[in-house]
């Protein structure tokens, strides 16, 4: 546990008056308040720190204790421990959860015995904090409605992920955030989905795009090719004299429309005509003949 300089956090001198503390706190709170910095974890952390600093420095008793023992809080603890042992005569082992590593709250609790005594003096019902989480999917997973169990703050939550969810989309699960304070409602859980694409398809909204190789002979004479879609194989007719870069739109073979069961976008196939290589002498002769015709 490392010493936390509350004065430094609020950017004030040790001689700061209560008014100075209030002004400094308000200024920083306006900068880092979570309501003004949605989804910004750094701001949230900063806000917790300045809140904690304010809790201590704006309370004369706490400030006095902090000023007295703050920097040498470890000695203060030893001193208090010795006092307790002397007065009670009990020399039992102390159950301490102290950990080194600079945990801010551990410091606060070691000084002031937890946050319960640090209330704002009024029993206000506060809505619990919102939690945020993220789920990584691949494009194939996102194609079908499926269920997943996620762990949020040690609690397992089973959620249904509707087909067609977008990369970067955030969904809200009401009431699965932090419990409310003093009987207030629970916060919500916000899950953001990140979808990796390792397929041959490019996705834009509900439409998919793919580039498919077609051999020269099929492109010239016409024929049939089989292509893969995210929902199985599809046979495609290739018209005679198909040009390189020609596009075919396959209606309803694209991505599912989010929360519209049975509706799909389109799949646009672009033909990429492959010119044969390593021709035999016979083939070269035939092409030469063709070029003269």
């Amino acid at each position: 546990m490392t010493f936390v300089d509350y004065y430094k956090i609020l950017g004030i001198e040790k001689t700061a008056t209560p008014k100075d503390i209030k002004i400094a706190y308000r200024k920083l709170a306006r900068k880092f308040h979570p309501d003004l910095n949605p989804n910004d974890n750094d701001a949230k952390k900063n806000f917790q720190q300045i809140n904690e600093a304010n809790e201590v420095l704006s309370d004369p008793d706490k400030r006095q204790k902090y000023d007295q023992y703050g920097k040498d809080w470890q000695h203060a603890e030893q001193f208090e421990k010795a006092n307790q042992e002397q007065s009670s005569g009990f020399r039992g082992q102390r159950n301490s959860n102290e950990q080194s590593g600079g945990d801010f709250s551990v410091f606060f609790e070691s000084m002031f015995g937890g946050t319960e005594g640090a209330g704002r003096g009024r029993q206000v019902k506060y809505r619990g904090e919102d939690y945020t989480s993220q789920i990584n999917l691949n494009l194939v997973d996102a194609y079908k409605t499926h269920q997943q169990t996620i762990s949020v703050n040690g609690k397992n939550i089973r959620i249904t992920i509707p087909a067609g969810i977008e990369n970067g989309q955030t969904i809200k699960i009401s009431g699965h955030g932090s419990p409310g304070i003093n009987g207030g409602p629970n916060g919500d859980l916000y899950i953001t989905f990140y979808i990796a694409n390792h397929t041959i398809f490019k996705r834009l909204g509900n439409n998919l795009y793919a580039s498919i190789d077609v051999d020269l002979y099929t492109a010239i004479l016409g024929g049939e090719i089989t292509i893969d879609t995210l929902n199985g194989k599809v046979k495609l007719k290739v018209l005679p004299e198909t040009q390189n870069g020609s596009k075919v739109n396959l209606k309803g073979k694209g991505f599912p429309v989010y929360k519209n069961e049975g509706q799909f976008g389109d799949l646009q196939v672009t033909y990429n005509i492959k010119v044969p290589t390593n021709l035999t002498e016979k083939q070269k002769e035939l092409f030469t003949e063709l070029s003269k015709s």
């Binding site: 306006r30 309501d35 009024r122 990369n167 990796a196 795009y209």
Partner: protein, 102 residues
């Protein structure tokens, strides 16, 4: 999965008691258009879907000493930020289609 709000109303007096705020503050929010109040049988209510927004406004006002005009600007700017985030997300997804290696 997503919360589909039914029409649930919260009694403003109850809200004020629970959040230690003055009813006049809520009424001034209504006047500035930040919240809508529904009156049923002479009792004033807010829609439950507005609760989160109202609590945010209360925090901005009481915790940060921001006046109602300031809150109006903040709410507007936060909405714009939100829209811009959504737009960035759409543009990023569109950009992916042109990137060969993902």
């Amino acid at each position: 999965m997503e919360n589909h709000q039914t029409e649930t109303f919260i009694d403003i007096h109850e809200f004020c008691i629970n959040h230690h705020v003055d009813i006049s503050f809520i009424l001034s929010l209504q006047q500035s258009g930040l919240i809508e109040i529904t009156t049923i049988k002479e009792t004033a209510f807010i829609d439950a879907s507005m609760l989160q927004q109202l609590e945010k406004i209360v925090r901005l006002y009481y915790e940060l000493d921001i006046n109602i005009e300031g809150i109006e600007s903040i709410i507007y700017l936060l909405q714009r930020i939100n829209l811009m985030h959504e737009e960035i997300s759409i543009l990023k997804n569109r950009l992916r289609i042109y990137e060969s290696n993902e």
